[in-house]
């Protein structure tokens, strides 16, 4: 019973992290900007949230502190994502290049500043690992009173956002405009839509969502090693986005499939049947990525991505 419960708790946490970050990336990609820097946004959101959790004094009531942490980490990642908007929209930079730069930059900034923060007399170099036990206990509710089975209530925010995103993309004017900027920016522009502004908003939303994903990721544990960034979850989210074919519902399903294998890599030692097989733990760790490659083989044949994805919009070419 405990095993089943802990499987479920890991599973929904991973589903929430991956689907929220991938859905954020969808806003960016649907409007025509490659979301390669999801990993960077997640790291930055996690970094801001982590620093907040570290510095907030314990005199602040829990509820207020939690809200401060959530807002600062979401907004921090959102603002960070605007760097991509600046480079790719204003200066028409190569999107893959700028995305890669932001991925490296966020980890570097996080490590430098956190080492600065954790410096003591005894440890002059500092430590890139932060501990936030107090907030771990605030964010994680121990369900059923069983040790080791906890539920992070940030998941609820993420899960509520999924249907809202679905409605925004398919049922609102904004959703259609967003998609038109990624499919055919010239005709969108000729119809009076401000392509660059729409893309900017798309990138900003992707930052906000990924920031929440990053915070959720680190609060699954009581401490986090920032030298590892978001541990590759941003790249996984990007993969989920692609094999979810840029559709909210498929993305959710894709995140679910992925999370099953991701959970398996964490939980397999406690399942007797799998533990007895004697397969290296690294195989289970690699499994989500192998499955992803195989799924991509079957889903990539017909390219359904936004047609203008990766191309800066140039008004002069209209």
């Amino acid at each position: 019973m405990i095993v089943v419960l802990s499987i479920v708790s890991f599973l929904i946490a991973y589903v929430a992290i991956l689907s929220i970050s991938a859905l954020g990336g969808m806003f960016s990609e649907k409007s025509g900007t490659v979301a390669l820097s999801l990993e960077g946004y997640m790291t930055f959101g996690a970094f801001i949230g982590g620093v907040m959790m570290y510095v907030l004094p314990s005199t602040i009531p829990n509820a207020v502190a939690a809200i401060i942490v959530i807002l600062s980490s979401i907004l921090g990642a959102g603002l960070y994502s605007l760097l991509l908007a600046l480079a790719c929209i204003k200066f028409k930079a190569n999107q893959t290049l700028a995305g890669t730069a932001l991925n490296i930059l966020s980890t570097a900034i996080a490590v430098v500043l956190i080492k600065q923060l954790t410096r003591t007399e005894a440890l002059p170099v500092g430590n890139s690992r932060l501990n936030f036990t107090r907030f771990y206990e605030i964010f994680n509710i121990n369900l059923f009173g069983i040790q080791g089975v906890s539920f992070n209530w940030l998941i609820l925010i993420a899960l509520v956002l999924i249907p809202i995103v679905y409605l925004i993309i398919y049922k609102t004017r904004y959703g259609l405009r967003l998609a038109s900027c990624g499919e055919n920016p010239s005709s969108a522009d000729s119809l009076g839509i401000n392509v660059n502004k729409t893309r900017c908003i798309g990138i900003f939303i992707s930052g906000l969502f990924a920031g929440l994903g990053g915070l959720l990721l680190i609060t699954m544990n009581a401490e986090w090693e920032f030298a590892n960034g978001a541990n590759g979850f941003g790249f996984l989210a990007l993969a989920v986005l692609i094999f979810g074919q840029w559709k909210p519902l498929y993305i959710f399903l894709g995140a679910f499939v992925f999370s099953i294998f991701k959970t398996l890599s964490v939980i397999y030692p406690s399942i007797d049947f799998l533990a007895n097989l004697g397969i290296s733990s690294y195989f289970y760790l690699a499994l989500p990525y192998i499955v992803c490659l195989i799924v991509l083989i079957f889903t990539s044949k017909k390219n359904v991505g936004p047609k203008a994805l990766g191309e800066p919009y140039n008004k002069g070419k209209r």
Binding site: K92, L97, T100, L105, A108, V111, V125, Y282, Y289, L293
Partner: protein, 382 residues
Amino acid sequence: MNKVKTFFYSLLKKESTKTVVTSLWCALIGLIIGFILLVCINAKNAPYGMTSVLGNYLIFTDPQDKLHYFGQTLAKTAPLLAMSLSILVSYKAGLFNLGGSGQYTIAVIIISFLGLEDSANWPWWAVMIIAMIGAALWSMISGALKAFFNVNEVISGIMLNWIALYIANALLTSNSSVWDTSHSQAKVITSSSNAFIPSIGLDRLFDGNSIVGLGMILVLIFTVVIFILFKKTTIGYELKVTGLNKDAANYAGINRVKSILIATGISGALAGLAASLNLQNGFTSWQLSSVPPDIGFQGISSAFLGGLHPIGVIFSSYFIVHISEGGSMITDLGFSPEVASIMTSLIIYLSGFVAFIKEFITRYELKRELNKISRNKEEATR
């Protein structure tokens, strides 16, 4: 005076000069922001910290030390240069090689098993060639997926990075002849080993620093080969055309599948060379890690900073290694070495603006030309 001015303007007109000027601008701005960051962290030590980052080996007073660390920086440039060439080749063929880290990792596995004294201890050239072939095959997985199944090479490259990471962790940690349990990393290839790249007397130029050697010369030869490949050969031309416009390439009868496989193969082999230059010089060995090695991403930075030109890449990868080596010296000043990583990533970020700055220069020139024409007209009417 006027002559000098016209000379500079004529230089500015050349595309290559524009690239150099804009790259230097990016580097300068990145460094300034990095300096501001240092001041924010610790204003008292910031100027000295910045001098160490920029000076690297120059801050040593003893000339022998200077030479020793200059050699060290040069030798560490070689792997990064190989990796940048890898990124460059695939980029020219219209592919973005984000799988460099994975290809590097596969080569690391091969080198560890074939090169270490406790396992096979093969001669260095054999280890190097097999590592390059292995990395090339790994990279061609991503190429084949692109060519036959239309899988986005960026995403498959990233997935292959992680798969390679876990393969390396699984294979290397479980083998006692490769794994050094006491240091929790793979054993390092020592200078007495067969697999160590010989220094052919170059070490004597650099205060006996044995890691300076043939590797550096090899990578320069590869740079020239890549330069010639794109400048003079049919294959290079086909790759370039595929990269510029794949429909036009198809129309001209260029086999797209072949181009993709060749491009990914060459770039994988170069990533393997990077691993070989890193490990077979005894700089480092495989360390148990939960994220792929970041050399693949560093290669992207130096490839772009070098203006995606084989010769430019030599300077940009030297520059990046120079800064990061300098950055590793400032820990005792109370800064973390990752400050250098902030600077380099800022520089890559800014190098995205190159196209824009170039356009700015071109516009400035155009304005000058127009002014000249109107001035001439005025004189004529007078």
